[in-house]
Assembly symmetry: C2
Homo-oligomer: 342 residues x 2
DNA sequence: TGATTTTTGATTTACGTACATCATTCTTCG
DNA sequence: CGAAGAATGATGTACGTAAATCAAAAATCA
């Protein structure tokens, strides 16, 4: 049987109350006694029964999720995933508050982080923007013992506890290899459509993509990246212009959002007899259809539901001071082609 | 606040004891009263606090995992994953017994299932073999209310509660598309190496592969599949012979185990100036190295750890009569190329 | 109607932990 | 040495559910 606090008390030769004081870091225990108790815990391999503890505490985990109020499909999914997780929260004892911030606005994000900290949540998840004020806000939070997890987009060189998102450089490299091999032996240029290269995940995808392109596919050269600000209309315009301007463009990597505009541009090009091998990100109703009709060749996807659930699991573990299973929390890049759509 | 049994009792105008009788299906409650209680539960949206219930019951979940004692890397990983899950079991209240059965032996498997049922476990996970005695054994178990989950290889047309494994036809289709596009415009034959076409997952991969090959890549024709029985030495021999016998063989899909032998054969071929575009299954130290040296072009992988954890989550949910989050339990096919290795 | 059976209520204990209170013992220092 | 203060023990309650017991009420049958 699993040892309980009673066993620890007996083993250490102290009372239950003292064990409790040690375990919950309450004052009034001599160092010597504390060590005795800790040794007993070690010896018996005691692990606190989190379920019982939470029951006793009547504990709930108030979490705050800070999301950009961006109108693209992926962010919508992410939001839905959070809401859905909150539904289940009644069972899991979690309660999630969503805070909206303007997209691509570092100052607003930093402020939102500080504000979120005021409520003393059990943890905060945030879609990060790479900027010093944000880093500073995160530092303040973690210093106060509030676990912070970055979601989808990481915050490098910060004190955040965990990143729940995909390996974006690897995503870019993958896109490059697939594009390169699908275009094997052909010569030409490839376009790149990003949302904004000031967002870390887009940056990272682009650099992974460029790296492999340069190293392994010398016959293909990359055009200067377009920035569509994850906006459909703008994306459409940029891509259409690029296709017209570069008759030798035979491939396209869209590493951000705004798929609807991109698809429209590709459809238009198709009517003019131009077909590009295209790789895009995020599986949605639109991108799925584009895969099926052959406008897209590959869609790289991150599963919003997984990311949210992983973030919650990690926040909960951090709040309880438990270990996380690293392998379980690795968010994988799904590679979808027409034939393995779920 | 979440309603408790007390609230239900008050709402239904009955005593706590009666609510308990209804909730735990104990005898001695009139139909009329039972309905009253159920309506109260419905009205207040009561959800039993599983943590508190388990605490009260002192419940543990004894699960049985039936695994083939196959000596390939993937089965080893699967076994490790189970052992590791069992380690964590002290916290999760699960206790897993592993039962070994000879590989590819349906009779032995059916017997093992029946035997496992004798101990009245809270659930059984099994790497299935497609055969009637196995189906029959599973039927008996589920009839007795023991949840059964198939792991890695499914058992079609059976009463199993869930399948924790990848979509194998989709894996085969994916392999076909990638192989076909990597070989774009080239003409020739492609080989297929299976473990045994009597195992459902291999069957399914092969049929998915054939389907897409026939439909989209008419310039490539599939050679009759080789059966390597997931045995390295045999695989090596078969592949080496095939490469020699078919000078026009330019691609290879290995959909089973035995990667070591396959790699050896490919290395040998390389020294003779033959390079095949190769797609294999399961990421291991060997296949990873083969990816890095270019002997393999793609490795399709199922994550053993995920499969095991998913199986446990589902078994637990079934044992508690809870819903499972379908999206969370979908086991995905990882597509690895040199550039996105974790 | 009275006896019998079924249904229901009231109450208690337990699970493992958290947390509070009050009493007691041990230290330490003047 | 005695008192103040710190450390520890003893004990009880709570969390939400399970499970058992025994008494009381209601329904059923003869």
């Amino acid at each position: 049987m699993r040892p309980t606090v009673h066993d620890i008390a007996a083993e250490a030769g102290v009372s239950l109350a003292t064990v409790d004081r040690v375990m919950n870091a309450r004052p009034g225990v001599r160092e010597k006694t504390k060590v005795k108790v800790e040794q007993a815990i070690e010896k018996l391999g005691y692990v606190r029964d989190v379920a019982a503890a939470n029951l006793a505490k009547g504990r709930t985990y108030p979490f705050t999720f800070i999301l950009p109020c961006n109108e693209n499909a992926f962010m919508g999914e992410l939001r839905d995933a959070v809401l859905q997780a909150n539904e289940r929260g009644r069972i899991e004892r979690t309660q999630i508050t969503i805070v909206d911030v303007p997209a691509f606005d570092a100052e607003a994000l930093a402020e939102a982080l500080i504000a979120a900290g005021e409520d003393n949540p059990a943890g905060i998840a945030v879609v990060a923007i790479q900027a010093d004020p944000v880093r500073e806000a995160v530092r303040k939070l973690t210093e106060r013992g509030i676990p912070v997890v970055t979601l989808v987009s990481d915050l490098e060189d910060s004190t955040r506890d965990h990143y729940a998102g995909v390996d974006n450089p690897a995503a870019g490299r993958t896109a490059a290899t697939l594009l390169g091999r699908f275009l094997s032996r052909q010569e030409g240029t490839v376009g790149v459509l990003a949302g904004s290269l000031s967002v870390r995940d887009h940056q990272n995808r682009f650099s992974g993509f460029s790296e492999i392109m340069a190293a392994h596919f010398p016959k293909l050269s990359i055009l200067p990246p377009m920035e569509g600000r994850d906006d459909s209309a703008l994306a459409r315009k940029l891509v259409a212009e690029a296709i017209d301007a570069h008759p030798d463009m035979i491939g396209l990597y869209s590493l951000g959002a705004g798929n609807r505009g991109l698809i429209a541009a590709l459809e238009e090009a198709r009517t003019k007899g131009r077909e590009l091998v295209t790789i895009a990100h995020e599986l949605s109703a639109h991108s799925r259809e584009a895969l099926e009709t052959g406008l897209f060749d590959v869609v790289l996807n991150q599963d919003a539901g997984h990311e949210v659930r992983s973030a919650i699991r990690v926040l909960k573990a951090k709040a309880d001071g438990l270990e996380v299973i690293a392998a379980q929390e690795r968010i994988r890049i799904d590679i979808f082609i027409k034939d393995n759509l779920p």
